[in-house]
Amino acid sequence: MSAHAGSHHETNYVKVWALLLVLLVVSVVGPMAGIKVVTLATAFGIAFVKAYIVARKFMHLDLEKPIVHWILALALVFMVLMYAGISPDVGRDSGQRWEKTSGWHHLPPQSEHTSEGQGGEHAPSH
């Protein structure tokens, strides 16, 4: 800690903060355009950028020992793994030889390929 005391003290934290605020404004304004790609990029892309800046500058990950990077990476990789393993079942309406029933959607689906051929039989729930 104290070994590199001199080096990162001079980071201008206020500047970093200002940059974060600018990004915040972009992430609020961007989605107002209503274009899906722009929303994704500004809302979620910028979230990653902000998180990266906070981790690097405020948490001083740039000065941290490799072992810390490894253990954080471990946790993140496992979360990606978890998502990859679960989403094929939970994040979809149907898969090979299974489909979710209409009760699945509490409110009527707007554009679902699986509801093709079901015709007007769902009328009561619409």
Binding site: R97, W98, K100, T101, S102, G103, G117, E121, H122, P124
Partner: protein, 253 residues
């Protein structure tokens, strides 16, 4: 091996049995080899007066081979097992041969309801036969089943078919089987489903075309109606059920 206890009554039951044999040979070999080696070493290197243990780091090439060669062989055997297991899995769970007939299997606490397509062989028509805790299928015909649950998880397990699939509320699962041996078999619920889990069984009857015709005739419209009523009242609690069944019929691909 499994046939010693339960007959193989479906087209793919033999595949599972063969896979079990294969695994038994491959892992049995390693199990016996390792245990024999293990007990021999314990006996051979038991403490003897005046004999000191050897200093072995495990880096010696000629000794390390005793680990590395088995290691490679285990990997090789694993590959065989994986290939065999996936082949059986793909055949039973992923391919879907064209159906001669489709039945609907509905599970609930703590009963099985089976909807047979009746004489016209199409589901959700007036002549459908509803039965509780008894499923009649015709020998040597390919059946599709649509598996649903009304309340909690159940599992549709027919040991004689070597077939098992969980019924998940909110999902419809399509599977298949082709009975190949006449007789009566057990249908079990293999997923804990509450206090009645221990009594949730059903009878599977594999019969000839003639027997089935007789059975159908005996269970035609009159019985049909009461059975539907019973199901309908049961279903009243879950709002989704009625639309489930129709979507299941329509969603047939």
């Amino acid at each position: 091996m499994l046939e010693r206890f339960i007959p193989a009554a479906a087209s793919y039951a033999g595949d599972v049995d063969q896979l079990v044999w294969l695994i038994t040979f491959l892992v049995g070999f390693w199990f016996i080899a390792a245990e024999v080696m293990f007990f021999w070493l314990i006996f051979r290197f038991r403490k003897k007066d005046g004999v000191k243990a050897q200093y072995i780091t495990g880096k010696e090439k000629h000794l390390k081979q005793w680990i590395n060669v088995p290691h490679g062989l285990v990997l090789l055997f694993d590959v065989f097992i994986i290939i065999a297991a996936i082949r059986v899995w793909v055949h039973i769970k992923q391919t879907l041969p064209p159906a001669d007939r489709t039945v609907r299997v509905t599970s609930q606490q703590w009963a099985w309801t089976f909807q047979d397509p009746g004489a016209d062989d199409s589901l959700d028509t007036a002549d459908d036969v509803f039965t509780t805790d008894e499923l009649h299928v015709e020998n040597n015909k390919t059946y599709h089943f649509r598996l649903e649950s009304k309340d909690v998880l159940h599992s549709f397990f027919i040991p004689a078919f070597r077939m098992k699939q969980d019924a998940v509320p909110g999902r419809i699962y399509t599977g298949w089987f082709k009975p190949t041996r006449l007789g009566d078999y057990d249908i079990l619920c293999a997923e804990i489903c509450g206090i009645g889990h221990g009594v949730m069984g059903a009878k599977l009857v594999v019969e000839t075309a003639d027997q089935r015709a007789t059975w159908l005739a005996a269970h035609a419209p009159a019985v049909d109606e009461t059975a539907t009523d019973a199901t309908a009242t049961d279903a009243a609690s879950t709002d989704a059920t009625s639309s489930d069944s129709t979507s299941a019929a329509a969603g047939q691909q």
